[in-house]
């Protein structure tokens, strides 16, 4: 069995809002990423993808608070570690995180190489600027980015180039696990493809051991990741390998998401998009039973009574529904 790079057990984190209310945006999430594997996280906006990504690093700051659960990176349990230590010895080195819209947060008055100097000098005090430059250039070349970018300001780069630069900066310290939150969502298809190519390259060249890739675009996940986890209202509702998750989803919500895929292939024009009606529940007051019940086509009265547990199938596939796999498949066949 391959080495487990990241293991998360029953992680729960919450936001405490300005008004003192608790929002459980990550609710008992467990996951495992093996060495050399990529995990995809899908779900609509507001379902807790970004919060999960932030929580995975073990570095919490208001309004986000740790509640319970464990995070184990390469055999090292980091839950309950003090924040300073996490920042010093974990972030960037063990696990790196590219926040959503990171590329727009670059300080426009500083050249790319200066960001790189900051990152490296934080961890290696006595390195010379020349060494930093050489290291950065080598990394950029490996990733197919022109070295001139180093001497440019963020505004001089196109969106796609900026995003790829951000990714390159985030793997400078050779983290074991990279978490990329919607790295391609604000880009056009061409730039998006370059970002995807780069993520694949990172895995292939061994610069990172494992990848967690967050996006709502299923076709992208399908092309990058080995496993896909679908989140809904802070919980995992289905986890499967990419092929099964895309072509053969079990959970009604996952099924609905797959119905929104558009790819330019023959016969597409006759496909009817299956939009999921309604909106996700308010996480301040999550419903008692199945959180998807309000929007589910197959809802039964008992769905709304007790919280629904994850069911595990053979081969490690899991989903969260009161129905068995056969019952759901039958329901889908009948429309």
């Amino acid at each position: 069995m391959a080495n487990v790079m990241l293991e998360v057990k029953e992680l729960t984190t919450k936001y405490i809002t300005r008004f003192g209310e608790d929002v459980y945006a990550v609710d008992h999430v467990s996951l495992k990423v093996e060495e050399g594997k990529a995990l995809g996280i899908a779900g609509e906006s507001g379902c807790g993808k970004s919060t999960l990504a932030l929580s995975l690093m073990g570095y919490y700051f208001a309004p986000l608070h740790y509640t319970s659960g464990e995070i184990i990176i390469d055999g090292r349990n980091i839950s309950g570690m003090n924040p300073d230590e996490v920042r010093k010895s974990i972030l960037g080195k063990e696990i790196a995180y590219i926040p959503q819209a990171a590329m727009n947060a670059l300080n426009p008055t500083r050249k790319i190489i200066h960001f790189i100097e900051d990152v490296i000098q934080e961890h290696e005090l006595y390195i010379t600027k020349k060494d930093i430059y050489d290291r950065a250039r080598k990394l950029f070349e490996t990733l197919g980015l022109p070295a001139e970018v180093l001497q440019k300001y963020p505004v001089e780069l196109s969106g796609g180039m900026k995003q790829r630069t951000v990714i390159a900066i985030s793997v400078l310290l050779l983290p074991k696990v990279l978490i990329a939150d919607e790295p391609s969502s604000a880009l056009d298809v061409t730039s998006q493809k370059m970002v995807i190519k780069m993520l694949r390259q990172l895995m292939e060249t061994g610069l990172i051991s494992s990848l967690i890739f967050i996006t709502h675009e299923l076709p992208l996940l399908y092309n990058v990741t080995d496993d896909i986890m679908v989140m809904y209202a802070g919980q995992i509702v289905e986890k499967a390998n990419s092929k099964e998750a895309v072509f053969d989803p079990i959970h009604p919500y996952a099924k609905g998401l797959m119905g929104s895929i558009i790819v330019p292939e023959k016969g597409l024009r006759d496909v009817k998009l299956t939009a999921i009606p309604g909106v996700p529940p308010n996480l301040k007051r999550p419903p008692a039973g199945c959180r998807f019940a309000e929007r589910c086509k197959y809802v039964q009265p008992e769905c709304k009574v007790h919280s629904v547990d994850l069911r595990e199938l053979e081969g490690g596939r899991t989903y969260r529904c009161i129905f068995s796999e056969e019952q759901l498949r039958k329901a889908y066949q009948n429309g």
């Binding site: 061409t190 998006q192 675009e217 023959k266 024009r269």
Partner: protein, 270 residues
Amino acid sequence: MADEKKLCLSGSGITKVFGIGRQKTVAVDHVDFNFYEGEIISIVGESGSGKTTLAKMLLGLISSTEGDIYFLGQKRDISSQKKKQEYWKNIQAIFQDPFSSYNIFNKIDSVLLDCIHMRGGRKLPYAKKVELMSEACSFVNLKFEELTNKYPFELSGGQMQRLMIARIFLLKPKILLADEPTSMIDACSRATILDMLMQLRDETGMTLIFITHDIGLAYFVSDSVYIMEHGKFVESGTADEVILHPKEVYTQRLINDVPKIYEEWDLSTV
């Protein structure tokens, strides 16, 4: 068949140049087009290819440097504020970024009321206005009662775009120009938005000009497709022609760039 189609919006040699001297950019470069009534037209191109600039010229929000635009077979005249307002009763738009499309100081009611007023409903009794607004909201699956006194930024991106559609529902223009209406929202809401747009078009028979960088989306929605590269239309035709049998390298590249799931996605081409 061919003679049944009536020209709705057409243009010849439309050009837009920004800046002068060394800073000159030709955003749109001598494009010609014929958009027919009731059609769904897609304009596809990568970022910076000039799609939004063309859209703004079609809307009359910016003037073109060169070229003429014809509306319903006649040369478009928007020389005065009055004529512009008249023109805008016929053509409306949905913009790319829902978060910057609304005035953050105006409540949702006022957005919808403006539309009723524009259609000449200023003197209607308030109850009738509420009825109209509720109808528009329920068309896009929103509840008007829950929206009154709210501000647009209190909605999610998907809901804001739906509110935009509700606006169009009230205005019932002849032409709707949708500039990447789904690029800023998640895939799940995208399906909902597309669904509603199609339904609205089927009900009103309006001409829909759909701008996108995702050729898959264009194929999914449109009857005819125009491919734009560096301000020029490099290829156009019916959706099937252009997307299933692309002639131009650029079109092929755009098709290749859309992620595939049924076949191998070739990443080596970028």
